[in-house]
Symmetry: C2
Subunit: 282 residues, 2 copies
């Protein structure tokens, strides 16, 4: 992508990793964050060239690309309040893990001379904050763009360029509704299960006897409580429906165990083994 | 451990990995298996010095240590039928993932001049058979011995020696009941969840958008249907109780999502994050 002036709003794990990747590629990166220590860290690392906790209109005015790394509920108010400072032609994108109620709504409230292309980089870590930022997390991950009919092909292409510049291996497009349905299953339900598995037992001694299976299943039970509570609530309807589908599958399995139905269990295991093969990496 | 003549009964993934490890340490290893190709593979690798599919009384007579790598339901019948061929003083152990209904029952039916020390090496792979055997799987895993009051300290110590010889990092003791309770949670419930997560959705396209979390949670959904259906049914009561505890935790989380109770969700996530830290490797 051509050299671009990027402003990152929210310099946490993801924002910091964007800043790290983009500064290394020679782009000019600035950042806005409430926490001066995060800005200080980014400045010291050389990942940002300037930062501000307030009075950041100048940083926004200079930006050709603004990346919103905010909680889902903070996106619309932030745009409402700050869009006046953007320069005409500014491209805006985000990293938010939910899209319904945000993507089209953000576009509806924006000035006609700036464009918002919603995106979800499906990368993360258990450890939070710019202190744990590392653009290596992008390489194996998926970058999902969720364009709406309001988006121009040019702007979508520029965000695809951004994804490649960040190092994502796989870039895909989904509608906001398809995205939230997909994420409700592969990400949110998955986190809900991991958390519930930890909550189902309070015996710390079990750790002595635990194998890799349990560790793998509960790795994401260490969770950013502030962020994920908001993601879950934002996607409430889809997530509860996904939990219900999963619970039905688990109850069916439980019933076969309870009834001693070995043949039915073998059949369930064959289906799950077959489906899991779809998810093997090449 | 001093040089020992070992006979492995059931030369699959685990039996094969035992044979590999023990032959490399200079022990004399033989094997019994229904499948001549498994024996052939072990012979060609140099992991066993002799093998038999039938008429194996001679192999048993020579053995100082017999390792049973059989399905849970096959253990007692096998011992009943073949204990006559064992030499006095023979030590017997196993690798079975469930212990209640087997450990004490096996001891009750055995001749008084041989001793059975039940054990569960908590190691495995998604790929089965001696063709995928690799004693490297033991290094990070736990070896659980489930002695009963009938066991002698000497025999237990010899099985601990065996575990060290195989390369297990962590050797622990539990009663058969404690073992099955623990395994019902950290292993069987975990597999039931992974399988159910795969069963809850039949859309292969989701693989395109899947992150590591989902892959980690479903890795074990590729499952040995024949073995795990038997393990689940053998531990039926404990497993269904574990599924019920987990389902209750998941339903509680679902309720907080449904009611939009952000504060309660944050609290649940804090508990799960805290508990998960118990399971961090040093």
């Amino acid at each position: 992508m051509r050299k671009t002036r990027v402003c990152i709003v929210g310099l946490g794990l993801l924002g910091g990793s964007y800043a790290m990747a983009l500064s290394q590629k020679g782009h000019q990166v600035t950042a806005i964050d409430k926490n001066p220590e995060a800005l200080e860290f980014g400045l010291n690392k050389g990942w940002i060239q300037a930062g501000a906790t307030a009075d950041f209109q100048g940083l926004l005015r200079e930006a050709e690309l603004v990346v919103l790394c905010l909680y889902p509920g903070d996106m619309l108010p932030w745009l409402q309040e700050n869009q006046g400072a953007l320069s005409p032609g500014c491209l805006i994108t985000d990293v938010c893990g939910v899209k319904l109620g945000i993507a089209e709504e953000a576009q509806a409230l924006l000035r006609p001379d700036v464009e918002f292309v919603p995106a979800h980089p499906m990368a993360g870590r258990e450890r939070l904050g710019i202190w744990n930022a590392d653009c290596a997390i992008f390489a194996p991950a998926n970058f999902i763009i969720t364009p709406t009919p309001r988006n121009t092909p040019e702007a979508i292409a520029r965000i695809e360029d951004l994804a490649r510049e960040l190092g994502f291996a796989h870039i895909a497009r989904l509608s906001p509704a398809e995205h939230d349905e997909m994420i409700g299953y592969v990400s949110q339900l998955t986190h809900a299960i991991a958390v519930s598995l930890m909550l189902a037992n309070d015996n710390p001694r079990l750790a002595e006897y635990t194998g890799d299976s349990f560790r793998d299943l509960t790795r994401i039970a260490r969770i950013d409580a502030g962020l994920w509570s908001k993601l879950f609530l934002h996607n409430r309807q889809i997530l509860t429906a996904q939990i219900d589908r999963f619970s039905q599958a688990l109850q069916n399995l439980r019933q076969q165990v309870d009834e001693g139905n070995e043949e039915a269990l073998v059949e369930l295991f064959h289906i799950s083994s077959h489906r899991r093969s779809w998810f093997d990496r090449c």
